[in-house]
């Protein structure tokens, strides 16, 4: 008898409180998830950016030493190096017109350009990629990753991508560059570009 008189208001209170708990949870869950997903999203974007930046830096350091890998060609060797250092985020075989799966034309590829060393008579430092002697000592090599698409995981990170709302899976592009002056040619001579 005593137990029944005590348990009745307790259960009623419990029922009443459970509604409040659900409201509290629903109010808290969305902002909490937003913050957590924001941390993850921005963290991953920054990780991708710094990884790609480091990859082109290593590619440039590799380029100025005139080393080549099994491909025997300097440009392909540089791309292989960049791809390895990027943890294969970008493909070494992709080109502007032939992007890897999931990318559109003009995206997700490694670009290696050579510029003539600027001089007083020609201060512009013209692009000589594709010309004879493009990788001659003293020229400038520029290694770039063009438009690597970072896909947002959550929709509410879209504010950083330009608009207030971006759907999950929408992308923003990361492009990174590095450059240096090509060093002295090795004893074996300048390798085939």
């Amino acid at each position: 008898m005593r137990a029944s008189t005590q348990s009745e208001p307790k259960s009623r209170r419990h029922r009443r409180q459970s509604g409040a708990t659900i409201i509290e949870l629903s109010l808290l869950l969305f902002p909490t998830l937003a913050i957590v997903c924001g941390f993850l999203d921005i963290g991953m974007a920054i990780f991708s950016w710094t990884t790609l930046q480091n990859a082109v830096r290593e590619g440039t350091r590799y380029a100025i030493t005139y080393q080549t890998d099994s491909s025997g060609h300097q440009i392909q060797s540089i791309k292989d190096t960049v791809s390895t250092w990027s943890m294969n985020l970008v493909s070494a075989t992709a080109t502007a017109s032939s992007p890897p799966a999931g990318c559109t034309a003009g995206n997700c590829y490694i670009k290696v350009d050579f510029y003539a060393s600027p001089t007083t008579s020609d201060p512009s430092g013209v692009l000589v990629t594709g010309n004879a002697g493009q990788n001659a000592p003293g020229n400038i090599v520029q290694v770039s990753i063009v438009n690597y698409p970072y896909k947002w995981m959550a929709p509410f990170s879209g504010t950083l991508a330009g608009g207030f709302y971006q759907a999950p899976g929408s992308t923003f592009s990361i492009s990174v560059d590095s450059a240096d002056v090509l060093g002295g040619a090795p004893v074996s001579g300048v390798p085939t570009p």
């Binding site: 600027p118 400038i140 560059d177 450059a179």
Partner: protein, 228 residues
């Protein structure tokens, strides 16, 4: 004696009612403590990322200077501009920065020489570090935190510096206006630079990526230097 359940319920309601105000106070205190913390973390984190990129730019510029690239030429500055993709470094040509005073970054390139007795006997600047060259790349009137940025190692006197063509500092062995300030000398106090040798210094200043009205240090710029 057993309490009336109705009495118990009303006391519960009173407690809930009185706790309502406390929760608001707790929330306000919690919010005011955590929000600046989150903002500071965000600002500092983004500045670190920015610094990594600026570090690359400073290194690329210094490596080009070391390899005797003429950094007053437009083509050389264009290369640096491309390396600084996303940082809004507006370059031009010549030693005096871009002509419009635009952009969010400035690179100060200095060549510093130690004048010993072998280099010059009886000169005014013997035993001193002097500027032999100074080139500005980017926005020379860049302001960070409300003041125009300046090299931490001082500036050569304007009368000695060729600000239009080469950026060279004349009379650097005999004129005290070519000397660096004490900060530079202090850096090399333990292992001084050998007589006549030079150090290529690149100092880079960039505006911060985000500015929340100066909140949580968000107007502090990024400064990175490279010495070779």
């Amino acid at each position: 004696m057993q309490r009336n359940p109705l009495e118990k319920r009303s006391s519960f309601r009173r407690r809930r009612h009185s706790q309502g105000g406390t929760e608001v106070v707790e929330f306000v205190i919690f919010f005011w403590l955590t929000f600046p913390g989150f903002l500071w973390m965000f600002v500092t984190g983004m500045n670190f990322v920015y610094m990594d990129k600026v570090n690359d730019v400073a290194l690329a510029a210094d490596l080009m200077v070391v390899k005797n690239q003429d950094m007053t030429l437009q083509g050389s500055q264009d290369i640096i501009s491309r390396v600084a993709t996303g940082l809004n470094l507006v370059t031009g040509s010549g030693p005096n920065g871009n002509s419009g005073g635009t952009g969010n970054g400035l690179l100060v390139l200095s060549t510093v020489q130690y004048i010993g007795t072998t280099t010059c006997t009886g000169c005014t600047n013997v035993g001193k570090y002097v500027f032999t060259k100074r080139i500005y790349v980017g926005n020379k009137s860049l302001q960070v935190n409300g003041s125009t940025v300046a090299s931490l190692f001082g500036n050569p006197a304007s009368a000695l510096w060729d600000s239009t063509v080469s950026g060279t500092v004349s009379n650097n062995q005999t004129n005290t206006g070519a000397q660096t300030n004490a900060t530079f000398a202090a850096m090399y106090s333990n292992t001084p630079i050998p007589d006549g040798q030079v150090v290529y210094v690149v100092e880079s200043f960039f505006k911060p990526p985000f500015s929340f009205g100066g909140y949580a240090g968000s107007t502090n710029g990024v400064y990175v230097r490279a010495l070779m």
